[in-house]
Assembly symmetry: C2
C-alpha cells in the first residue's frame, strides 16, 4: 500500500539557519539553554558492563515478583482490557488516586483523591508545576546541591535558581530565611522553594524533624510555595518501630505545599507513574496543563499499578527494597572508609545516594574521563548546581550494583583520586585535563 | 509506621492570593490563558450511557484481540520484565523506533530510527515541538478549523494562531501563500505551519495529491517549518489497491517537516505512545526537551507495542478498524441525509469525523445544552478556532457509537436543530440562550 512519493524538491535552506541546522534561528529562546553535555557521551561508555556505574539512579528490579506482576497484568487485560487500553481521565484513574492517598498516609499525609493528579513519572509533575508558576526570570530557591532533573526543568522555563545551604540535617532554616529576605529586598519574584527533604538526591541527607515546621513556616511567611519532592520517603533504612517515617512537609501546611510522589522507586519506573498532591485551585491548573501536555496519563500503566497495589503485598515489597538498599549503602560506606581516607561523605539513612567531598584541589568533573578509563563512573557535583560550582563533589549511587561491584568500583575510584592527589601535591593541579563544557541534562542515567 | 504530624500552623494566606486560590497571583503569565470550559461540565453529563455521544474521539477497541494482547504482554513481563519495568532511553526504545520506520513506510516515508523520538502520545510531541520553537507572540499558522488539542498547546506557549482557509481538498495553497506573505510584511515571526493532511480533525477532509507539494513548497519558501500531524493516515476507507495511501508531506521535504504519528488510533490509546520524525538537529532538541519533561517514555508501553507489532498481524487489525469506521461513517452520512436536509457536511474518506455546517442563524455552541438535554452530544465548532469564530459548525465523531446509536443520535440532533430553526424563523434568533464562555480545553473526550 505504499505510494511512491514524487521526487523531493531542492533541499530546504531557510535564510535564518545554519548548514548543520537549517532551523537554528527558529528556536524559542528557552531552547538555546538546552545543551547536550559532553558528560553525556561519557555515560554512554559508562553503560558498558565492564564499567562499575555508581552514576545511575536505576532501581534494582531483580527483587520484583515478576511472575505475580505478569499474572496481575494478564488478568487486567482479559477482564478490563477495553478500559485499560482506552483514553482515560486527564487527572488520572480515580481508583489509583484513592490508593495514592493510602500510600501518602504512611508519611502522615491526610489527603483526598480529588487533590491528586497522576503524571508521567514525578518528572512530569515537576514540569507541570514549573509550567504553571514560573515566568522567565522568576526565582526558584533550591538546596545546594539539588536534583539535576529539577534543575533541568527550571532552566527549561528560564527560571533563575538560587541555592541555599544544606548540612547533615538538610536545608538550613537560617540560610533560607536570609536568602528569601535578600531576594525580597532585591525585588525578585520567588515562586517556588524546591526541596527533597528525605534521603536527598544527590546529598544523601534528611531534613531533621525539628527543622521541618521551620522551613514550612519561613516559606509561608514569604509567600513562597513549597515544592516537596519525595520519591524516596518510604525507603528509609532505620528500624521503623523505633524511628518513624518523617512527616512530610505537606502535613504542616497543605495549602502551602505541592507534594510530589512516585512509584518509580517503591515499585518500578518503567510504567512512568508519579503524582502531585496540590491545593485545590492549583490542582485544577495542573490538570489543565497536563491535558495540554499529554491529554491523559496511560490507563494501562495506572491500572497495572492499581491492580498490583490492591492485590499484592506492596508494603512487603518496599520492605525488601529497603533491605537491599541498606546492604548496598553499608557496602558503599565501608568501601569509602577503607579506600578513600582523604575524602568525606554523607551517611544516608535511606534512598540511593551518598555525596562525596574530594580533597581540596581535586575536580570531580575534570576527573571523570580518567575514572571512566579506569572503569568506574559517577556523576560530578557540577551537575547539581545551577551556578557552575560543585567541582569538588561527586554523587555515588549504590542502588543498582551489587555490594561486591560497589566495593570494586570504590576501589577503582580511589585509585583515580589518589593518582590525582599525587599530581596535585607535585604540581598544584590535577592531571585530568581541561574541564568539560556544558551543563548536564537529566537523563534516566541520572534520575 | 505513620508518624503523627505536629498541629498545622495558621492557614496560609500569602498577600498576593485570593480567598479561593491563595496562589492566584503567583501563576505564570501562560497559566492565565488556561481556563476550564463551561462546555466541559456538559461533557461529563454527555458521558452518561443514555446520551449518544458524537463528541468523543475514543477509538472503538472492542475489535482488539484482547486474548492475544494479554498473551503477548504476559510473555514480555516473564521474559524481559526487568527491562520493561526499568527506566529507558529518553529518545525511546530502539526496537520500537525501527518498527515505527516500517509503519511510516506505508505512507511513503523513508526514515531512520535515529530520527524518531517516541513520545507520551503524539500530544506530547505537539507540546515538545511547540516548546522548542515558539516564543510568546510567535505565530503558528493552522487550518480553519484546527485540532482542539493543538490549539490548546499553542495557547499554552502563548503563540498567536492564524487560521488559513480549507476546502474539500484541504488547505488552500493560495490562501496559505497570501497569509504567509501578509504576516511577513507585518514583520511577524511565523514558526510553524500546523496541518492535519489526512482525514482532518475536525474537518473530515483530505489534502489533495496535487496540493501536497504546493503546500510544502510555499512553507519552504517562507522558511516555515511544517508540523504534519497524521494520526489517522492509515485509516482510509477507499479500496487501497485503486487509491493508494497519500504520500506524507514529509516525503516531499524531510528537512522541512516534523511528522507526528501515533498508535492511539491504529492500535490503542491506553499505552500513550506516539512519535515525532524530525530533521536531525531538531530531533536532538526534542530529545533534550522530552528528558526535561518526563525523563523517558514508558518502557513497558513501548515494549508492549513493539512486541505486538512484531508478533501479531497489525496490518490485519488496521484493516478491520478501517472496516468498522467505514460502516460508521456511512451510517453517519445516511442519517444526516435523512434527517438534516437544511445542513451540509463533509464526506470523510477516512478517520473519525465529519464537519457539519448548520443553517444560517444557528449557533452550535449555544445549542449544545439543549442537545444534551435531548440526549445527544457533539463538539461545537468554536472549539476548533483560536479566534472565537466557528459558531455555525459542529464536529460529529462516528468512531465510538454503533451504527444504530449513530442513527438515533443524528435523529435526536435533527430534532434539536429543527426546533432551533423554527425559533429562528419566528423570532430571528435561536432559543438556546446565552453563549457559553471559555475556550474548550482538549480532554480525552475531544481527542
Amino acid at each position: 500500500m505504499t505510494a511512491s512519493p514524487p521526487a523531493p524538491q531542492e533541499p530546504l535552506t531557510p535564510g535564518r539557519g545554519t548548514r548543520l541546522d537549517p532551523w537554528y534561528a527558529s528556536y524559542a529562546e528557552r531552547t538555546h539553554g538546552m545543551k547536550a553535555s559532553e558528560i553525556r557521551a561519557l555515560f554512554s561508555v559508562a553503560n558498558r558492563p565492564e564499567v562499575v556505574s555508581l552514576a545511575g539512579g536505576m532501581p534494582y528490579l531483580a527483587g520484583l515478583p515478576m511472575e505475580i506482576v505478569a499474572e496481575v497484568t494478564d488478568r487486567l487485560l482479559r477482564e478490563r482490557g477495553a478500559v485499560a487500553l482506552q483514553y482515560g481521565s486527564g487527572q488520572g484513574d480515580v481508583a489509583l488516586r484513592e490508593q495514592i492517598t493510602t500510600v501518602m498516609a504512611e508519611e502522615g499525609i491526610t489527603s483526598h483523591p480529588d487533590d491528586v493528579v497522576v503524571t508521567t513519572g514525578s518528572q512530569q509533575a515537576l514540569d507541570l508545576v514549573t509550567r504553571i508558576f514560573v515566568d522567565p526570570g522568576d526565582v526558584v530557591v533550591a538546596e545546594a546541591p539539588s536534583y539535576v532533573g529539577a534543575l533541568g526543568v527550571f532552566r527549561a522555563y528560564q527560571a533563575d535558581v538560587v541555592h541555599v545551604e544544606m548540612d547533615d540535617d538538610g536545608l538550613v532554616p537560617e540560610a533560607l530565611e536570609a536568602t528569601l529576605t535578600r531576594l525580597a529586598a532585591e525585588g525578585r519574584r520567588v515562586k517556588l522553594l524546591y526541596t527533597v527533604p528525605n534521603f536527598h538526591n544527590p546529598g544523601g541527607t534528611t531534613l531533621s524533624l525539628e527543622r521541618r515546621p521551620q522551613v514550612v513556616e519561613i516559606a509561608r511567611r514569604h509567600g513562597v510555595l513549597v515544592l516537596e519532592d519525595n520519591p524516596y520517603g518510604l525507603l528509609g533504612f532505620d528500624d521503623l518501630t523505633e524511628n518513624p517515617v518523617m512527616p512530610a512537609l505537606h502535613s504542616y501546611n497543605p495549602q502551602g505545599v505541592v507534594y510530589l510522589g512516585s512509584f518509580s522507586k517503591t515499585f518500578a519506573p518503567g510504567y512512568r507513574v508519579g503524582w502531585a498532591l496540590a491545593p485545590h485551585a492549583v490542582r485544577e491548573r495542573l490538570v489543565l496543563a497536563s491535558e495540554s501536555a499529554i491529554l491523559c496519563p496511560s490507563n494501562m500503566s495506572q491500572m497495572s499499578i492499581a491492580t498490583y497495589l490492591s492485590t499484592c503485598d506492596w508494603r512487603g515489597q518496599v520492605k525488601s527494597y529497603r533491605e537491599v538498599y541498606r546492604e548496598r549503602r553499608d557496602a558503599t560506606l565501608h568501601a569509602l572508609a577503607e579506600h578513600m581516607p582523604h575524602a568525606t561523605w554523607t551517611r544516608p539513612a535511606g534512598g540511593f545516594y551518598t555525596w562525596v567531598t574530594l580533597p581540596e584541589g581535586l575536580d570531580a568533573q575534570a576527573m571523570l574521563p580518567r575514572a571512566v578509563t579506569e572503569l568506574v563512573a559517577y556523576v560530578p557535583g557540577t551537575a547539581f548546581y545551577a551556578d557552575g560550582t560543585g567541582h569538588r563533589y561527586m554523587r555515588l549511587s549504590y542502588c543498582y550494583p551489587t555490594p561486591e561491584r560497589i566495593h570494586e568500583g570504590v576501589r577503582r575510584l580511589a585509585n583515580v583520586v589518589n593518582a590525582e592527589l599525587d599530581l596535585v601535591r607535585m604540581f598544584g593541579t590535577g592531571g585530568a585535563g581541561t574541564r568539560l563544557a556544558g551543563t548536564l541534562n537529566p537523563g534516566p542515567n541520572q534520575a
